[in-house]
Symmetry: C2
Subunit: 394 residues, 2 copies
């Protein structure tokens, strides 16, 4: 058995683009005794999980469930169920996850139209309007917090425009949900999906999704079968609904974990949670700026839970990340695609979003940069962060 | 918070069609501290998990990974990656899971051909031969242990016939893997998938799959993109392979659990594990027969890990299952589809497959039947099971 030793990991301090840190209560819930997936006791947990999910999405949509796959399965579900062959779909692309949406639209047989935005900038709503005016589309798809760039997209104007032109709005809230306001009903989002491993601070494995009335109607009116059996929302809905129609075996223990992570969010309250993400993001931003580092995402549109930091000229990306990992057990993320080697992605998500992590990261970055011969004024980052905390009354 | 109380479940004794009981070590692994999905420590666990999976499948296929979804996602993966529009696929249907395969084939754009077998009987290999002789197909798809009927299908003759006629063989081993010999290489199966929540005795949520050389070639030669992005095996393979090409965020803690459950199987050894399933299945079968109950599946082809027991005339299906659940915390399954109300499905899977469960179930069934006024000779079931154990030297 020496080739297959027990898992004895000490874990890491997770400040990358996800997974985020997990509260010990969630880990404990994961390991609770298993129940059958049709057990009355488990069904009660399923129902409560649905309720709490709708509460986090800030929606009255009854059609709110976790998909039994990761955030990417949520993305595929949100597209494959609403696209029929030949449907025109306008995808806003200003980062990797927009690109992925576009890829999936084509695989669904949709007629893909892309708004090519700049990575690191938002998609301007009037560009969406111009495109829809020129050629109507059935669906507009957009990412709320682009995990590849750290940009936070304003959704309300896009929702209004989409609906004005008769399109449905599909929103990727994988990184934003639970860390900043998504407000599905107020924003008037038709389909919104997320992942558990970001600001919900549950391990990866489930993809919460919510379906509004317009989208539910569209689904009911489909002429063709959904091309994915596993992600067929009508069947999933009747499994999670009153019918309990057997579809697949729900991932019981992962649902336990999601439920517990939602309970923790419920105890904190959504508005307090959004404020907490803002506060630590401002503190980290101030610290990073004081160290002479530049943020990558467009000013005024930076996601509070994911900060993209430009890697200074001459600094070795991988060496810095290795330094943090080996000296402080601290994980941050590198850039994806064209941003590889150009940015670090620092997550402040859910359970990971706290002052001890902010200060530790600033200390670690200072050490890592100094080790590479970059001139950093000792203590400047932490002092700047402390000022933000002090001003907030902490 | 009263509406959302903590999960305090005592759990159940799981003797249904899955999920099966989970070893405390696996629950502990589930709750181990989380690591990033690209962390070197986690990558080591991924690699070891792949190795152990190949060992359980008894294959040298390097292309052996767990899909980040339940067994049904495994089924969809095994079909959607190998079917291109218009490909003829011959699906053997003698239960619910065969029906599901047929449904998925149509959703993939395959040209579906079905062998309609009887529920509760095997698919006779010469029927497969006759059909392939009449019209060749690119793929033959068959279920090893039909979870809806308790039938264990002999695979070797079907594999030989499929290959003789130039077809690839896709096998559903959701219920069989880890409980009876699947032996992917020896049987010459091209694509084989399973689920974690049956004889692997890990909670539901992952679907192990293995892809043989013929199938890998077929995949590489595809002309069209796989219609599912989430289940695209080429991308999944380069994520789990040396490239570590980012695809989705692996469900870290579920992988921990799978790894631990595979370690436990490795400690027991496959042949001993298969024998254990046979032994307890024989004991339960003897006990059930001594109580005057009839088994549903064709004699000589009964799956050792899932026994379908015919519900005697006049006995209330749901009342018996409720009795077991409320008096003994014991879960067994009801029938699916046309077998609803006609059979019970009793699982003896992995960690659930032991003499204490066999004896408890026989005692419980006796009580439940007596409560319904059915004449059962007290103690006859347990005595018969004990005879089997005694003869085996226990």
């Amino acid at each position: 058995m020496n080739d297959y030793p027990e898992i004895t990991t000490y874990g890491r301090i997770l400040m990358g683009p996800g997974p985020s840190g997990v509260h010990p209560r969630v880990l404990r819930a994961l390991g609770a005794p298993i129940l059958g997936h049709l057990d009355p006791e488990f069904i009660t947990i399923m129902n409560r999980t649905k309720d709490l999910l709708a509460w986090v999405f800030e929606t009255k949509n009854e059609f709110t469930i976790p998909i039994s796959g990761t955030g990417s399965a949520g993305m595929e579900t949100a597209l494959v169920n609403f696209i029929e062959p030949g449907d025109r779909v306008l995808v806003c692309v200003n980062g990797l996850f927009g690109t992925r949406m576009a890829d999936i639209v084509e695989r669904c047989g949709g007629e893909l139209e892309v708004i090519e935005g700049e990575w690191g900038k938002i998609i301007e709503p009037d560009v969406v309007e111009k495109r829809l005016k020129a050629r109507p589309a059935k669906i507009v798809a957009i990412v709320h917090a682009e995990t590849s760039t750290g940009v936070l997209q304003p959704l309300e104007p896009v929702a209004q425009i989409a609906h004005r032109y008769g399109a449905m709005l599909v929103v990727d809230a994988v990184t934003s949900l639970g860390g900043t306001a998504v407000r599905v009903d107020e924003t008037d989002i038709d389909v919104c999906y997320s992942g558990t491993q970001k600001c919900l601070s549950c391990p990866p494995g489930l993809a919460p999704i919510t379906v509004g009335p317009r989208a539910a109607q569209r689904l009911a009116a489909r002429k063709s079968k959904v091309q994915s059996w596993y992600l067929d929302l009508t069947m999933l809905h009747s499994y999670w609904g009153r019918e309990r129609f057997y579809h697949h075996t729900a991932p019981v223990n992962m649902i336990y974990a999601l439920y517990e992570s939602l309970r923790i969010i419920h105890e904190e309250g959504l508005e307090r949670r959004y404020e907490r993400h803002l506060l630590h993001s401002r503190a980290l931003g101030a610290g990073v700026a004081a160290m002479g580092l530049r943020l990558f995402a467009q000013e005024g549109y930076r996601a509070p839970m994911l900060m993209a930091v430009a890697i200074p000229e001459g600094v070795d990306d991988a060496a810095v990340r290795r330094y943090l990992l080996s000296n402080y057990r601290l994980e941050i993320g590198g850039g994806l695609g064209p941003l590889k080697g150009r940015i670090w992605r620092v997550g402040l998500m859910g359970h990971s979003c706290n002052s001890e992590n902010v200060v530790l990261l600033l200390a670690g970055l200072e050490g890592a940069l100094a080790a590479q011969g970059m001139p950093v004024q000792p203590g400047a980052g932490i002092a700047a962060a402390r000022e933000v905390y002090k001003a907030s009354g902490m």
